[in-house]
Symmetry: C2
Subunit: 341 residues, 2 copies
Amino acid sequence: MSIALDVMGGDLAPKIRLDAAEKAVKEDKISLVLVGDEKIIKTYVDKHKLPSSLIEIVPSTQTVEMGDSPIQVVRQKKDSSMRVCFDLHTSNHVSGLVSAGNSGAMVAHSVLLLKLYPCIERPCFSVFIPKRESQSFLLCDAGANVDCTVKQLVQFALLGSLYLTGLHERKRPKVGLLNIGAEDNKGNVVAKNTFDTLSALETNEFEFIGNLEGKEVFESDVDILLVDGFAGNIFLKSIQGAVKYFYYNFKREVHNGSLIEKASVYLLKNLFKRITNRIDYSNFSGAPVLGVQGNAFVCHGGSNAQAIYNAIKVACWAEQENLSERMADKLSTIEIQKILC
Amino acid sequence: MSIALDVMGGDLAPKIRLDAAEKAVKEDKISLVLVGDEKIIKTYVDKHKLPSSLIEIVPSTQTVEMGDSPIQVVRQKKDSSMRVCFDLHTSNHVSGLVSAGNSGAMVAHSVLLLKLYPCIERPCFSVFIPKRESQSFLLCDAGANVDCTVKQLVQFALLGSLYLTGLHERKRPKVGLLNIGAEDNKGNVVAKNTFDTLSALETNEFEFIGNLEGKEVFESDVDILLVDGFAGNIFLKSIQGAVKYFYYNFKREVHNGSLIEKASVYLLKNLFKRITNRIDYSNFSGAPVLGVQGNAFVCHGGSNAQAIYNAIKVACWAEQENLSERMADKLSTIEIQKILC
């Protein structure tokens, strides 16, 4: 089956989206349904000679803007490119969807149209973030759910574990709580109570390794970094900001530096490119909306074509692996159902 | 008057603390009261020939550990080095204090012993963070108050403004709300309501410039970055973690790199030192506990001697400028008192 791609959503739409589509179609023979402004899409498809056997265009007349209210969008923009992607998914015309649009609207559409798994109260975004030794950890929640209860956070730990186990076959992933100190009694009320609940929980699905601070997560052995969507999103964007700021300082120092320093930096161009490839957020793939019955992937609004392309590939993989159904089956059987319901 | 220095608190005590004391005494002729293990302090003072005219040693027999419960510490460790510093301040033996100990205990001691300004509900930590063009912004709250109400956040904006106006003579500082999106309707319930309250507030003390994301704060014109102490502390430590991770990747790439790359990096040693000096968190000075009637400065547990030294200097400056009293006077007169009470 195909993957629906929201061509209109996000800061740099639609060119970046279509570049990603071209790569997925030409390099991986992935079948795509492109949703958005018909004329723009058709012009691109013709110009870049995308094979008609792998491309379907579904027109939509509306676009979800970044400032739109999520609930109003669901009610009022029924022909938005994002909504049409969801409709194609719920009618089984596609097996998954990718959008880099308004993330609140992605949550609202996911919950109202795809529906949550039984017992799951809220969905979460889970983003892979690179860490030492070429490994990565999964940030849950990266921003879907800004006011979390303890129960919801425990559910996110479980959802992340099932996703990771399905994706990477990591056995019993290590869950750490992103907090303001490593000691047991740190954090706000929700973090403290989540710590207590996870410490007392006996489960084979994941291992709780306690609190982690932002300064140590990149060198820790955490697999899933658990935090509410407000602090989680701030974490995600702050590390982006910090790396950008580092580069700014670097450029400034080079600009003011000696000739030898300028020449040395020139010789390090490839080395910096290798680092950037590893840590640049815009290269990361999309985040699944975990907890809903379907394959919806959200990308950062400023994603580049590589990131959208990566998300399309993960959405394909999720279909091939039957991930959503397998997660639902697993959820219905595991011991800690008492936590979930 | 003197500044009291908690020699025992923090991860690297007491050596680092005493190195900072030596620098402050020898370079700036600052008069210090060193509080902690008498034998350790005396040995250091004798060995390093610190002038007795500027040094007083006040022994204490207990130490606040990083995992100690703040309230229990205040009740039970009445001879901790931190507590003795506060007692010296409340009895006017010193004009301020610096500690790199347990930050929760710093808040508890500040509130219970120094007392809050009338109308102020909670204190906040305010940390200077460097940004572009060699400027900096003040993060309020950096971790004193993890569960904030809207009213408390508005109070922090005001406290930060008064501090900044007193310190840098910046007129009407720009206050931005650290949030998960730049649009008006973003964030958790507290962030949304704080946005609405600040947008409606008419005050000459600061200008509210709206929401800011972590990825853009370093290049924004914000003077005060407002956020609850939970997300604020996560922001602070995450940027530290990100920079450390960048350096890790850099070292790894150099290690695996070509001979030319290795040589180029060697030639850039001084350039990297210049950048590190600007962005290394351990170099930052201490954060004042804003909102209390006194001069209490908290440093990060992992601070180096330079950071502690910087904090001692700021504490001295605060005394010379009569900052705490001036802030109290100002608070009692300003128009937005209706917000405060």
